[in-house]
Every structure is written in structure tokens, then in C-alpha cells.
Point group: C2
Chain length 592, copies 2
């Protein structure tokens, strides 16, 4: 997986322009987690294909900053003779620049690829930030893929639960209350939510890459490639003015004089700020109000999530029953099932579901040490066998017309050693601690994160990723703003929020464990909330040290497995049904 990067070409371009360096973020103008290949400049320049990262190309050094999830993967994908690997959070780029470069160094950046808060933090570095609008990477990227032109489809009101007119009216009210004239929308899931559409520019991310302006009377201008609109009913477009995406910044500048724009400092490209300021407009920096509206799912959306999870759960059970049967047989026959074969089979089971569209992210199908890379994706050259003496981790999900699923199970098909069993038990106990919690309405994610970690902390262990993220409604798999993590997340959790709970443990080169359910926040006794599982998949208990579980933990597992069995037994294949019965058998009986 070593990769020779086109650094020399970029460096000579920088030299020509008297630039001392250039920032190349893993981002596009839409803050997409999964970039279109067209936009993945970081992979082009470095070879690293993870979902977050930043390269700094200097004349004599090249640095790649990646987070905890990607420390292993980056070192495998990048040519370490060209790139140094740094930690994205432990060494913030602005501090690195401040401490390592002399004041006034000219560092280039593309203003569509940087949000305002990054820009402001970089300004504290003492470097001279030079905005370059002409896409310098494009000049050296001979084999750049085509710009995405995915068709856009309508999301019917019967599935979204609210008409575009009603949503626009709510947004207009919010803008009027804040005393702003325009909301500049660049987040594609917020545009998709507002206009009740879904896109297909990027596999697994059904949101259209486009821009929009909402006026404080609810009028919408949509900056979208017309080629993407062919399938849309004309009635959808009736009340919306359509422009080319290339016209977006110019239009912001044109409209700006004397007007106030609401921009989201953490999500809007700083290019929009420059356009508004050049046009003589004012900026109100606030989170995009749609982000929170979208996170509070309505009853019809929640019903859709539940329904899609029932379908997805049945597909999981058909897959797990097949896998449990085949793994020992194939291992004994000397022809073990591999990660890639398993994920293909799983996809085939999902494709049997009526409402299934596509995967909701690239499946992580990882055996043994591969699972220690949290966001590993199998490839022919890394494709491990699934056997009885190592864990197999599967993190996958589906986009359904009425919801999005995301779940992880870590599976044992044989006899694992005491250390692996202890680690698995600790991860399970953390999962149970958080998912069974009752908490005051409005509690924030960072207040609860440690419940999922404590059993690992007791062993002196931890995991270097968040504990839970929001999930979109047939939209992005990682939806803002809610998160449960060590990092502060200011958004109160309320009934109708949909999140994951996914503690894990990873031992490099040995094994990776993660257990993940998607949950909805539901009202409990007055003033308090609970989590209710959307995910309906048996949790493998064969690697658990049962004596370490409390009565309450066992009661939760037995209740959950009863729910899974009763809900899904009628829906799974007749060959999977006996497996389901066994996999959901109550622990209480086993212990007696």
C-alpha cells in the first residue's frame, strides 16, 4: 500500500508562486466525510484515504496529521520516507505552525476547503495565509476523476414527515428571530432535509453536493448542477430558483450589500465569508439552525428508522446464521471464509430487503489484527481468513428509503483466550452501562461518555475514538450535532435524537472489539430520558466471562434478546431461525 506522492510537482508550483507551503485538507466544500474521488486531494497528494486528515506540504518536509483512528492505517498507506505522521488532535496544526515555522511564512489554502473557525485558528499561527482560488492541485492532477453528477430523487412527505413548505416556513421564522436576511446553506444534508430530496453524488452518502440560499421570507435559491435534476418532479422545483453551483459565491456577493447573512462558522467555507464581506454584507456567526431541526426527528421519521432496522436486523441474522455455520466447516476444509467473501455475502442478504438502497458506509469486515484498525476496509492484499481462534468484527449498515442503519458486532466462532474474553467482556459492560442509563433530559454527550469506558479503565485500557454519533434519516451516517465523546459536545440530548453507542477496544496487531447499537432517545419519567435500541441484532455472548456480569446487565441482555427474537423470528429465513433462537437464549437459564 506504499504510495509515491506527487510532492515534487506541487513543490515546484509553490516555489513559482513564492509560497512556503500549502495545506491540503481531507475535505471538500461540503465538509463531506466521504469525499467524491474528484475532491480527494489528500489521497492524491499523500496516498492516505481515511475520512479525516490534513497534509502540510513545505519545501523540505511533508506532514500528515491524522486522528487516533488512523494512526495505524496512515503509516501503512503513506510513503514514510516522504511524510511524517502527526496526531490531528494532540498537535493542532495552528500550534504546529506557530512552534515550527517563523512568523510570516506564506502558507497557501483553498478558501472553499476551509471553514471559518479553522481559518481563524490558523490566523493565530503567525503564518501569512494566502487564499488560492484557482485549484493548484488540479494543475498537477493529470488523472483527476470526473466531477460527480449523481441524480437527485424526491423524498416523499409520507417518509420525511414534513413538507418543504413547512420546513422553509420554520427556517424563515428562525432567521427573522435572529434578525438576519439570508442563510447560506452549504451542508448537503441540511439542503437535502430542507428540500426533501436525496442525492447520489457519493456512494453511501445520499445527499446532493450543491449550495443554497434561504431568505428570511422562506424563498430558496438552489445552486445545483441541472444535470442532477432530471428525475425530479417539476412540482418539487416550482417554488425554487435554480442556479449553477459556480454562481454561488458571486450571488452571495451580489446580494450582500446592507444585508445580514447567517453563516455557520464551523461548517461554512470561509470563501462565503470573503464573498459576503466583499459585497458589503454583515455576518451573524451561528450554527445553521437546520442542523438542530434535522436532529430532532419527527414521529414519521422515527417510525421509518424502526422499520428500516427491522429489515436490516433480519438481513444481519440471515448473514450471521450463515457465517456461524460456514466458518468452522470452511476452516476445517482448509478453505476458510475471508473478510471480503463475508462482506459480499452480507451485502447480498441486505439486497433482499425491499427498501434497501445501498450500504450506508463502506463495510468494515475485519478479522484478527485487521480489526485493530478502527476504520479498516478489506482489500485483496489484506484479506484475512475468519477462523475460530480470532475475533471477527463487522461494522456495517444500510441506506433504506425510510432510514439509515449502523451496527457493529464482534464475533467468536471458537475458543478465544482469556485476555480476549476479558477485553470483550469489558467492552460489553461499557456498552450495557451506557445503553441502560436513565439521564436528565438535556444532558450533553460528554457527560455520559465515560460510562462506556469505565470497565476498560478498570483494566487500564481505553479506546481512542468517540462513543456515539448521530445518524441521519436516509442521510449521512455521521450526522451532527450530537455526539457522545470525551470532547465537549454542547448539544442537549432530547427525545427524538438518534445516536449510536459503540465502545471498543483495539490491540494493534492482535484484535479489535466493538459493539454498536443505534438508539433513539426516548422520554422516561418526567424530566428524564432513556435510550431505546433501534438495532435488533443478537449480541454474541460466547466470548463473555458471564460471572463478571451483574444481574442488571444480564436482565438487560435477556430482555433485549427476547425483543430481537420476537420481532425478527417471523422475518428471517427458515435456516436462520434456529440460529436466532439459540443466539437469543436467555443467559439466566444458562447460568443456573
Amino acid at each position: 500500500m506504499q504510495h509515491t506522492s506527487p510532492l515534487a510537482a506541487l513543490r515546484s508550483l509553490l516555489k513559482e508562486r513564492e509560497l512556503d507551503g500549502m495545506l491540503v485538507p481531507r475535505t471538500d466544500a461540503w465538509q463531506s466525510e466521504y469525499c467524491a474521488p474528484y475532491d480527494d486531494k489528500l489521497e492524491f497528494i499523500s496516498g492516505f484515504d481515511g475520512s479525516a486528515g490534513l497534509a502540510l506540504i513545505l519545501a523540505d518536509r511533508a506532514l500528515l496529521f491524522v486522528d487516533g483512528r488512523y494512526q495505524v492505517q496512515a503509516r501503512q498507506q503513506v510513503n514514510l520516507e516522504e511524510f511524517e505522521i502527526h496526531h490531528l488532535h494532540d498537535e493542532p496544526i495552528h500550534l504546529w505552525l506557530q512552534e515550527n515555522l517563523s512568523v510570516g511564512k506564506r502558507i497557501a489554502f483553498e478558501p472553499l476547503l476551509m471553514v471559518n473557525s479553522q481559518y481563524e485558528s490558523l490566523r493565530t499561527s503567525g503564518c501569512d495565509l494566502v487564499a488560492v482560488d484557482d485549484d493548484p492541485i488540479n494543475k498537477i492532477w493529470a488523472t483527476r476523476p470526473a466531477i460527480p453528477r449523481g441524480l437527485i430523487r424526491q423524498m416523499p412527505d409520507e417518509i420525511s414527515g414534513e413538507s418543504t413548505a413547512s420546513k422553509c416556513a420554520r427556517v424563515a421564522q428562525a432567521l427573522a428571530r435572529k434578525g438576519v436576511n439570508f442563510l447560506a446553506l452549504t451542508l448537503p444534508d441540511n439542503i437535502a432535509w430542507l428540500l426533501n430530496v436525496r442525492g447520489s453524488d457519493i456512494p453511501t452518502s445520499p445527499v446532493p453536493l450543491s449550495f443554497a440560499l434561504v431568505k428570511n421570507d422562506g424563498a430558496v435559491e438552489w445552486f445545483v448542477d441541472e444535470a442532477k435534476l432530471q428525475q425530479l418532479d417539476s412540482s418539487v422545483l416550482e417554488s425554487i430558483a435554480i442556479h449553477s453551483p459556480d454562481a454561488f459565491l458571486t450571488r452571495c456577493q451580489q446580494l450582500a450589500a446592507g444585508k445580514r447573512f447567517l453563516l455557520d462558522g464551523d461548517n461554512t467555507p470561509v470563501a462565503v465569508r470573503f464573498a459576503v464581506e466583499q459585497g458589503g454584507g454583515d455576518i451573524e456567526w451561528q450554527p445553521d439552525p437546520i442542523t438542530l431541526m434535522k436532529a430532532n426527528k419527527n414521529d414519521i421519521e422515527l417510525e421509518g428508522y424502526r422499520s428500516s432496522h427491522i429489515q436490516d436486523g433480519a438481513a444481519w441474522i440471515n448473514f450471521l446464521a450463515w457465517l456461524s455455520h460456514e466458518v468452522p466447516l470452511r476452516e476445517a476444509a482448509g478453505n476458510p471464509i475471508t473478510e471480503l467473501e463475508a462482506q459480499e455475502k452480507q451485502l447480498a442478504f441486505r439486497q433482499e430487503c425491499d427498501n434497501f438502497i445501498e450500504q450506508s458506509f463502506g463495510t468494515i469486515s475485519a478479522a484478527a489484527g485487521n480489526a485493530a484498525m478502527c476504520h479498516y476496509h478489506s482489500a485483496p492484499e489484506t484479506n484475512f481468513a475468519i477462523t475460530g481462534h480470532e475475533f471477527y468484527l463487522n461494522d456495517s449498515g444500510g441506506q433504506y428509503f425510510n432510514g439509515t442503519t449502523d451496527a457493529t458486532r464482534t464475533l467468536n466462532f471458537g475458543q478465544l483466550d482469556a485476555q480476549r474474553r476479558l477485553h470483550y467482556t469489558a467492552v460489553l459492560k461499557g456498552f450495557l452501562s451506557l445503553i441502560s442509563l436513565q439521564f436528565p433530559q438535556g444532558t450533553q454527550g460528554h457527560q455520559l461518555d465515560a460510562f462506556a469506558r469505565r470497565p476498560l479503565w478498570e483494566l487500564g485500557l481505553d479506546y481512542d475514538h468517540g462513543t456515539g454519533h448521530g445518524v441521519g434519516h436516509n442521510m449521512l451516517i455521521h450526522e451532527n450535532p450530537h455526539r457522545m465523546a470525551k470532547k465537549v459536545n454542547p448539544w442537549p440530548m432530547l427525545p427524538g435524537n438518534v445516536l449510536t453507542i459503540e465502545p471498543g477496544y483495539y490491540l494493534a496487531g492482535s484484535h479489535g472489539i466493538r459493539i454498536e447499537n443505534q438508539v433513539e432517545v426516548v422520554a422516561s419519567i418526567p424530566g428524564f430520558c432513556k435510550f431505546a435500541s433501534l438495532t435488533l441484532i443478537p449480541i454474541d455472548l460466547s466470548a463473555v466471562e458471564l460471572p463478571l456480569l451483574s444481574e442488571q446487565e444480564i436482565a438487560w441482555l435477556d430482555d433485549y434478546h427476547q425483543l430481537v427474537r420476537e420481532t425478527l423470528s417471523p422475518l428471517v429465513s427458515s435456516t436462520a431461525r434456529p440460529w436466532l433462537i439459540e443466539a437469543t437464549a436467555p443467559v439466566r437459564t444458562q447460568r443456573m
Copy 2:
């Protein structure tokens, strides 16, 4: 406790000066939690004597903002026909002003009584903030108490563990690293730490009210009333320039031209900012570096804490043994022990300790419903009897020459009902959950707070105060910067930090429960920390529903009680010793 406030006099003064209102905070120039009576303008104006609050006096309304601890107490102390009571945190004053007053209203404030961050937040309210330097309240406060002139004593290096010269050198290094010329010190505990002195201006707060300037070469100018210095050895003062406190602002202004001052935006009066700016200086807004240096206790300080807690623990046990013996006898005799009698007796036991100086805060000695007011102090007119059918809560501590103690026990002398037992058990379980935690070094307080709340949350209950605070070394009972609370606290917890753990539960008019130990953070296995109890006092288990405790919880209690018994048995009175043995008997045996 109703109080008729001198509002009319203040209002006519405001009218004369064409002011629409005035802010009267419960604060002095030193951010003292316990103000000198001389400085307690909020009590003068409103009658409320809690440790935090803010009044806003307008022409036709007067508002008192207090936090969750004081909602009950404020309504008892204040004339509710004159004052409306508001919530200090739920209704931030700047938002209240913004929403309720028209733009440009002239609101007066005293710039020595407001820190920069409050000033900046008030500036967003749209009001015209008018700094008044001539102490208008003084004009109407005929019976104002005398300005405090408490003697200052030396803290020997053998107890502080580090010389003033060494501390000044460390501070000078920090200033040089930050590129600033001067540190303006206004926090009295930071001055006390730096100069190895203790003061006596305010009972229970052994810190001198004064100001100081530290230059980046380590030179110190101390702005302190010379009358307070009589007891100090001349050698202590040799290397320090002494000025009058009244000269402080003028001196800042004199020194400022072309110089950079480090000011702590959350703690330095905005008057210092005005002085530096008027003198042509620059300001570097950063937390006072001494705050963190002081929080990381050295080995000699930690040894002092441990030793003072052994003394304090013995005094507690002598008191509790006496109380346990007397409460039923005196109740039966129709002459029950009262809150005030109990706290006097407790003080007498503490005064038997060699190193005891004074109480570390006003004792909370509260029976039955009085304990539902978290920061209640007994008075003849509220003085409840201590009986066998209600909880008695005692929160008290001592200032010792080598440390400061703070502990709470809630006691049962008879048979309490099921609800009280359940509440007590939940508070105890929260206490045990947090105190037994192992956590990654550097974890922040808000990440751990919820462990202490979860057993209450399970019952749909909670408490409206923080879970733990730092404690000074023969200094302030609430020491910054570490805190465990719902609110974000960015300071990483490291070995050598000293905090309390004190969950509670309060049912207005019925009962209040709190269990509090002081702990030090200690290193555990590599990368992890634990809490080690400094407090050595038996925890009353007579109101616990023992079947609700886990094996681990019982093991912690038994281990703790064994430590208390073995450490203190030789030190308590012979009459208290049998009580100690019984109060620390292992639960394991009782259960079998």
C-alpha cells in the same frame, strides 16, 4: 429573617446621577467566596447572605439572582415584596438585561467588583455600562463595618515545601515564556502561595486581602496594608517592595507604557484592565499561572494534608461518639440536642487538636428539613432538634497549620422510613462509584461528574450543585481551578490535586443528605489515576439498604473503615474508641 433593604436611598442616588440601575454583586476585589462584612454590599442591599449572587437594582424593580444552592435560602432572607428571586445560571444577567431593558439603559457597576469576562459578557447586553469608582453604596451605608486589618503570618518552608524565591523563579520563567513583563496578582490565595504567608482578614479564609505585581525577573511589589505586617519576620519582607493597596491601580497605570501585563480574565477586576490600558500597556489574557502551580501540591503539602486529616478525623470520631450516645438519651429526656449545641461541641473537640487554627468554613449543622438548604447555617430561630426519626447532616472542616479539611456526614440515630433510606443509599452508591474510579491521567472533572449522580438518576432524582471542588493547603476551602460538576471544567486531573467528592440529595422541607470525602489524586497503573481518601471518618451505614450494595461497594466500605479504625483508634478518646470499633465493623460479616 425578613429584611427591609435600603433600596429607596440607593434609587435616589442613582436618579441624581441619571443612572437607570446598578449591579450589586456578592463579591469583593478578590473574588472572595466569604466576603468581609465590610465588603458584603449584597447583604446590605438585599439581606441575602449566601456566598454567590447578584442584585440588579432598577428604578421600579429589584432582582436577586442566586444559584441552585440558594433558591430556598434567598426566599427566606429577602423581602419578597421588594425583590424578585431569579436563577443565576438559568437566567444569565446579560441575557436578562438584553431581553428586558431597552438598548442604551445606563447601568452602573464598580470596576473593582467585576472581572473582565463578566464585563465583556455584560457588554453584549446592549446596556450602557457606567463604571463608578467612588463606592456609591458607601454613601448610604451608615453602619458599614470596619475594613479588615487581619495580621499576616509566615508559612514556613518546612510546611509549604517550597521557598518564595523558588516559587518566584518559577513564575518569572512562566512570564518570560509567555513574553509578558508583569503579572498582576489579585487572587489572595495566589499571593499567599507565592509569598508563603497566610492572612486573617476573613474568618475561615486564611488569605491576606492585598494586591501584588510580579515582574518577569521575579521581583515582587506587594500592595498591602502595613498594619497587617507587624508579626512578619523582617527577613520575609527583605526582597519585597511594600506599597499601600490604594496605590495598586495607579502603579499599574504608571508601569504600563509599552509593557505587557498578564491578567486573568476570569479573576482580575476590570479596573486593572482600565488602568493598564490608560497607561498605554498591552494585556495578555490568560489564567494566572499560579493557579495551576498551586493546585499541583508538592509532597510536603500532601503530607501536611494527610496529617491534618488524621487530627481532624479523631476530632470527628470523638464528636460522633458523643453525639450517638447523647442524641437518644437527650431525646428521651425531652431535652434533645440541637444543631447549635452539636456544632459547638464539635468545635470544642477540634480545638483539642494541636495544629488546629479555626474552622475552614461555617459549619453546616442541619437536622431534618434544614438540611435541604445546601448551605444552611443554624441560627437560634431555625435551630432544630436532632432526633432519631430525621437525618442530621454535618458539613464542617478545620484550618490546620499544615492543611485544610472538609467533610460531610449524614447521620441516622434511629429508624428512618423507606424513602429516606432509599435516598441515602443512592447518595452513598454515587459517592462510592466516583471515589472508587480509576481514570486516565488528565481526565477532566465534567467527564466524571455523572458517576456520582447515576444512582439518583435511576430514581429520577438529582442534585443542583457540583460534585467536587479543590481544597487549599491551609487556604481556601473552595480552591480553583479543578472541579467535578456538570459544567465543563477544562483542567486535567493529575496526581497531587486535592478535591472533594460530595454527592447529595435534597427534598425541600423534608431532608437533606450529603456524603463528602476529601481526596487526593494519586498515580495508579501507568497512564491512570485514582482517588485516595484524605478524610478518615466512618460513613454511617445504619440508613443503608445493604442488599442494594454490590460486592465491590461493600469491599470498598470495609477497606475504608479498616483504614479509619487502624489509623485513628490510638488517637481518639477512650470513650469514643468502642464507638469507632462498632462504626467501622465490616459489612461482610453483618450480611452473613
